[in-house]
Symmetry: C3
């Protein structure tokens, strides 16, 4: 099974990659999502890390989100204990590889396994065919062994007697702030106090949006076990001026 | 076959549920739509009721749209003559069950058939696995028999010598007003007269948007046989201040 | 395999058509995209022509994008050397049929192969079932032979010693201007000079958006080998007032 993640929207670029896969493999293709914010590698890193372990063993994850800048990032495929991951070596797999350390990483530099040699559409020409070839058992042929992989810096959640630290994982389409702070650290609290623009803002912890008035900030447990900060019918990201990667400090 | 309906957009939450299904079942998964307006159970009720009968016998409908409020709605699965339906017991199946009366309803309270026990993501933890287990023939094991199901009140379309009554089924993404009034009741008319804000508005019945000027209201037969009220390149819902569930009266 | 293209968004109309297909055929269904701008047949023409050849031989393309106007366009299915195409005879296949000339065109007028006889939803009632019946080997039964097909006029890209001519293929969701001018014609240039509102605008050719300042126009090679004109974090279509089908002239 190939699970497909991009920042392309549900565009024909996604469809084309599926066509290329079908020229090589009959493996099922499931869309994880294509709604990653454009060029937001950090958001993709978090969403992939919160999703991959719900898929069956041997799933091949085809994740294509790049920075919108030049540079010489490699194209890679990695084998872990349970899965395969294919995508750009730009840090997208930072969190996934902490949980599923790569046993073997291949640089996708064997041109025999590329689709076209265009240099403008790596998803179609390098990554999608690599995922398809892995489902055919050809992981080792995709290219040379790589000793390591790129990571991106992020603030690991931590807790001391006075504070909880973490970062904004991503902003969802409603402007809700998804964090990397485990909600269980907050389970005995009625509210959080968050440092924002030199002020300390108190936000109630609720089970349902409807427990607050329209326009009010609220904190709750998102579907995947992390703190989410939202506004009932509003945009918390804009209100607090917080974006993906921004540091968070909660005062205990 | 599992047919999947939510209000989550094409997000990774949809993808994750498919992963959970694949851990249990190889059944095909088809998206009905994930573009239901957030928390709009009535819209989901109408869209499901206008869609389900186009799918083959034995299709399992996995429909997850909830109100954004607390409460103790049950999780259910129902077997009808031709189909299975899985989702929250919040009235979402009101119309479907009028057409396909449930022969057997199970509360999804057998935790052996849950995926995780998180209480924050019923789609992933209760509904998706239930749909998957049904495709494996385990409908009866999902939980206890329920004698009845929740409904939501709605205005059934009716006609007398002076008026036609109905309601707004939902507003589509263009602001078009989708109603529950059968278009065949209007087929001999050239226009409808609709009561709106104490005024009587006359709207021409047309076959194509292009028969009216830009910005003008028009009435026509939507794809599924019901009256739709729209504005050529405009937003009829805003213009008439009509939303899902609002009553409609057409004067004959 | 059926590859599905519409301007319906990811709505339940798409889901319903898949249900209808499944009543007839078990063939795999892949979405090319449903994000074509409403009623934009020209955009669909370009996107289909840049996508179809990435799919395996014998793929059936189900492409349903119509003008929002009345008229008596036929419903057709065509067999080419490598593929089948099903859709309205409104010019949508103009470019595809230049590359893959139709060997046999059928008008979809055999009502035995229609799903419902509603006249309001040709996608569900005529086109989707036709695509499904083709996967069952029934192409020839779909209706009468047609000697030719409709085309839409467009400006073929051409080059002389002073200028390059072409047209705007479509505008993508970011407002980027996708053209039909082959990028290889520009490969030795550092910038393009484009005629716009009687002015001559010079636009640098770059490899990455990040090579320009925010808000600046840029030209580059899109993923499929054609010139794209964009603004780094802006809307080039609005800035230059260029839309699908508008003529382009680049001064050499």
């Amino acid at each position: 099974m190939i699970v497909f993640l991009t920042d392309w929207g549900n565009s024909h670029y996604v469809g084309i990659c599926k066509g290329v896969i079908r020229q090589i493999s009959d493996s099922e293709i499931i869309d994880l999502t294509h709604e990653i914010t454009s060029f937001n590698v950090r958001e993709a890193m978090y969403i992939l890390s919160r999703s991959f372990y719900h898929f069956p063993k041997n799933t091949v994850f085809l994740a294509v989100v790049d920075y919108g800048v030049g540079g010489s990032r490699k194209a890679i495929a990695a084998k872990t204990k349970n899965y395969y991951f294919v995508g750009p070596d730009n840090g997208l797999f930072t969190l996934v590889f902490e949980e599923e350390p790569p046993l073997e990483i291949r640089e996708l530099n064997n041109k025999k396994f590329h689709y076209l040699d265009s240099n403008t559409f790596h998803g179609r020409d390098i990554f999608a065919p690599a995922a398809a070839h892995i489902t055919n058992g050809n992981f080792k042929k995709l290219g040379d062994l790589l000793p390591n992989y790129a990571t991106i810096p992020y603030i690991k959640p931590k807790k001391d007697s006075k504070s909880i630290f973490g970062e904004v994982a991503y902003i969802d389409k409603f402007g809700n702030i998804e964090t990397n702070i485990p909600f269980e650290w907050l389970k005995d609290l009625d509210f959080i106090k968050i440092k924002n623009k030199r002020k300390l803002i108190e936000i109630p912890i609720v089970n349902f949006y409807s427990e607050t008035e329209t326009g009010q900030l609220l904190a709750h447990n998102d579907s995947t076990g992390f703190l989410e900060i939202a506004i009932n019918q509003g945009n918390a990201s804009k209100k607090l001026n917080l974006n993906s990667g921004d540091p968070l400090e909660l005062i205990l």
